[in-house]
C-alpha cells in the first residue's frame, strides 16, 4: 500500500465549501424556480443570493490558487486512456481489474475526470454564472444598455445549467466511491492522502 499527499489544505477547503454551497444553491434555486416549497420563496431567494456571492468570493481565492500554484494544468484535456477508462467503468470495475490510470501529484485526475471537470469549468460554470449575474442585476439592465435581454431566457438558461450541475453532482458523488475501496477517494479529499494499491 502506497500513500501519497495529493490534495493540499486549501484545495480541500475549497472543494468541501464549494460542495456545500453548490448543494445549498441547488436546494434554494429549484425552490425559487417553483419546483417545491421548503424555505418559502422570500427566504429561498435571500439564501440563494447570499450563497451565490459566497461562492463568488471562494472562487476569487480558488482562481488565484490555481494560477499561482500551476494547478490549473490538472485540467488540460487528454484523450489518452479515455477509452480505457470507459471500458474500466463498464466492465473492469466489476471484476477487480487494475485501474488503467496511475495517479500522481502532477496528474491527480484520470482522463475522464479531466474532461468532466473541464466541462464544468468551460460550459456549466460560465453559463450558470453569466445568467445568474444577469438575473441578479435584472434592474440594472437598462443602465447597462442590455435591456434587449429577455429575463425569461436568462432564467431558462440558468435552469438548464442548474440541471447540468445536478447531473454532474449525481455522477461525481457516485464516482467518488469508485476508489480501491468505496471510501478511499472521500477519505483522500478529507485528509489529502490518497491510498493506492
Amino acid at each position: 500500500m502506497e500513500r501519497m499527499y495529493i490534495f493540499k489544505r486549501f484545495e480541500r477547503f475549497w472543494h468541501w465549501s464549494q460542495a456545500a454551497l453548490i448543494m445549498f444553491l441547488m436546494l434554494t434555486g429549484f425552490e425559487v424556480h417553483g419546483s417545491y416549497t421548503f424555505f418559502g420563496f422570500q427566504q429561498a431567494v435571500a439564501y440563494h443570493t447570499i450563497a451565490a456571492w459566497t461562492l463568488v468570493g471562494l472562487w476569487v481565492f480558488a482562481v488565484f490558487w490555481h494560477l499561482t500554484t500551476g494547478e490549473w494544468k490538472q485540467y488540460i484535456p487528454t484523450m489518452d486512456k479515455v477509452v480505457a477508462m470507459f471500458r474500466y467503468y463498464l466492465t473492469g470495475i466489476f471484476t477487480n481489474a487494475p485501474h488503467p490510470f496511475k495517479q500522481t501529484r502532477l496528474k491527480k485526475h484520470n482522463p475522464l475526470q479531466r474532461l468532466a471537470y473541464l466541462f464544468v469549468l468551460l460550459v456549466i460554470n460560465p453559463l450558470i454564472w453569466t445568467t445568474g449575474w444577469f438575473y441578479l442585476f435584472y434592474n440594472s439592465w437598462k443602465d447597462w444598455g442590455v435591456d434587449w435581454l429577455n429575463i425569461e431566457y436568462v432564467a431558462l438558461f440558468h435552469v438548464i445549467a442548474a440541471f447540468m450541475m445536478l447531473i454532474f453532482f449525481i455522477a461525481h458523488v457516485y464516482l467518488a466511491t469508485a476508489g480501491h475501496t468505496p471510501t478511499a477517494h472521500i477519505k483522500a479529499m478529507i485528509t489529502g492522502w490518497e491510498e493506492t494499491d
Binding site: 424556480h33 420563496f41 435571500a46 466489476f94 431558462l156 440541471f163
Partner: protein, 577 residues
Amino acid sequence: MNTPRMKVRHALILIGCLLVTTSASAIVADAQPKADGAAITAQPGSATTTPVVTLANEKTTVAVSSEAYTKPKAKKPSTADHSKFSELDKDFKTGPEVTKACLECHTEAAKQVHNTKHWTWEYLNPVTKQKLGKKSIINNFCTAVTSNQTFCSACHVGYGWSDDSFDFTSEANVDCIACHDTTGSYKKIPGLSGHPNYEKMEWPPHSGKFREAVDLKKIAQNIGKTSRQTCGACHFYGGGGNAVKHGDLDSSLTNPKRYLDVHMESDGLNFTCGDCHVSDSHEVSGSRYAPTATDDEGALIRGKRNGRNPTTCVACHGNTPHPGNTTITAKLNAHTDKLACQTCHIPEFARGALATKMSWDWSTAGKLDEKGQRIIEKASNGRVSYDSKKGHFTYDRYVIPEYVWFNGNVKYTLFGEKVEGDKVNINTFLGSADDPDSRIWPVKVFRGKQPYDVGNETLAVFHTAGKDDSAFWGNYDWDKALEWGMREAGMKYSGEKKFVETEMSWPITHMVAPKEDAMRCEQCHTENGRLQAIDGIYMPGRNNTPLVDKIGFTLALLALLGVLIHGGIRYLMSKRG
C-alpha cells in the same frame, strides 16, 4: 498511520469548516425578514417623535422612512376664532346666507371652488379627450346624475342644483360648510337639491325618526379645517350607502386602528385625508379620473411641485421605500419598476369590517309583493340583498382585489356612445407590460346589470328619484323612467330596452396595511398566486419551464438510476468475491 502532525491538520480543517458555516449563517441571519426585528425597531407611536429622514439618492430627494413619526396633535389649528366674528353672529336662514358671510372675508374662496371638480362635476381627460366627471359619466351603481340632481346633489358642494338651469356661476350657491363643518351636525339631505333641512323633518323617510333643523349659526361659528368626517360624509357613502362604492373608503376610516390604515391610525400618525390629498386654491389633489399610476421621480420635496401629484405614495416614500440594503429590501425596492405600492401594501380591500357592494343587478328591480308594496330582503350578513327600488345586490368584505396593468389612463364608455353586445365595460384601465409607465395595480371590479337603449345602442339614463309620476323609485315603471331620463340626457328613448352586463374598475389605494400585513413574496411567486392573470412578465415561481423541467428531472433521475444500478452490480460482484 495517523501521525500527530496529521491530527493537527484534521483539527485545522474542522475549525476551517466551522468558521465557514458560522460566518455564512451570520450573513444569512442578517437577511431575515424585518418582521423578526420588529422588537428592536421603534414602532410608530412610541416615545420617539423625531421624523426619520434619509437621503434617498443623489437627486437630493428626501424619503420618509416607513418608521415614520407621530404627528403632534394640533391644539388650536386656527389663528382665527370664528365665534368672535360679528359677521357670523346671525341667525342664518339658509346655506347661501352663510356662504355670503364667509365671502365677506374669504373673498376669493367661491371663485376658487368654481374651478374645482367638487363644483363642476366635470373633468376633461387631457389624454383621451373624454369629458368625464360625475355630471357626464354613467356608472353601474345609481348609473347617472342626469335627471336625478335633487338627490345626487346631496354630495355637491353647492346649494340648489335640481336641474340643468342651475347657475354654476353663483358664488352664494357654493356650500362652504359641507367641507368645513367641525360640529358633525351638518347633513345635506338627498331630495333637497344640496340643502340641509332648515326645518325639522322626518329622516330617513317613513322611519318615524326626525332630524332637528340645522343650526347654521353654531356651525358657522365653529367652522374649520376639513376632516375625515367631512370628506367621508360623501366619499365614504358613495353609491348610496356606507362602504358601497369604493371598497377602500368607508366610515371605518373615521377612527381607524393601525391594522386598517397605518397612516390614519387614530392613536398613531392620525393622518387626515388632506395630509395626502394636499389642496391648492381649493383644488384637491389626487383623483381617480386621472390617477398617477407611476411616478419615478422620487420623493417630492415640500415646496417643489413641478406639476407632480403630491398624493402618491412616492411623493413621501420615494422610489426606494424599503429601508436598509439587505438582499430582501433591495429586491423589494427593485419591484417598484413593475408594481404599484398598493399591490403589496393593500392586500385586501373593505378591511374595516364593513362589507362593500360587489354587484348590482337592476334587471330584477321593480318586483312588488301581493299588496303592491316595496320588497326589501336582507342577506345573512345583514346587508340588503334585494330592494324593489334597486334590484339585487351582493356585498363582501376582506376582498382580494383583481390586478391589472395600469398607466393612469382610464377610458370610459360614455352616454351616447354606440356599444354592441351584452357586456359593456363602463371603464377600462389602460396599460400593458411593455409600457414603461404601467404598473400592476389592485382594483375593485364592480359588476352590474343595467338598462340599455336597444334602438339607440347606448347605455341608458333613467330617472330614478323624484316626486313625480315617472321616477323609477315609487312608480316602478321602466319605460316612463327611461323616457324621462333619456330626454333629460338629450336623446329620445327608442322604446326598447334590455339589460346588459357591465363592469367598472376602481383603483384600490386606501386602507394601507402596516408592513407586517403586507403581501408575502410567495403570494405571487407561486403557481395560481395573486398575479396568475397578469401577462407579459416572467415571474420566478409562477412561470416555470415545463418542458425543460421534464427533460432536466428525467435526465437527473436516469443518472441517479444509472449510478444505483452500477453501484448495485459492483456491490454484488464484490460479494461474490
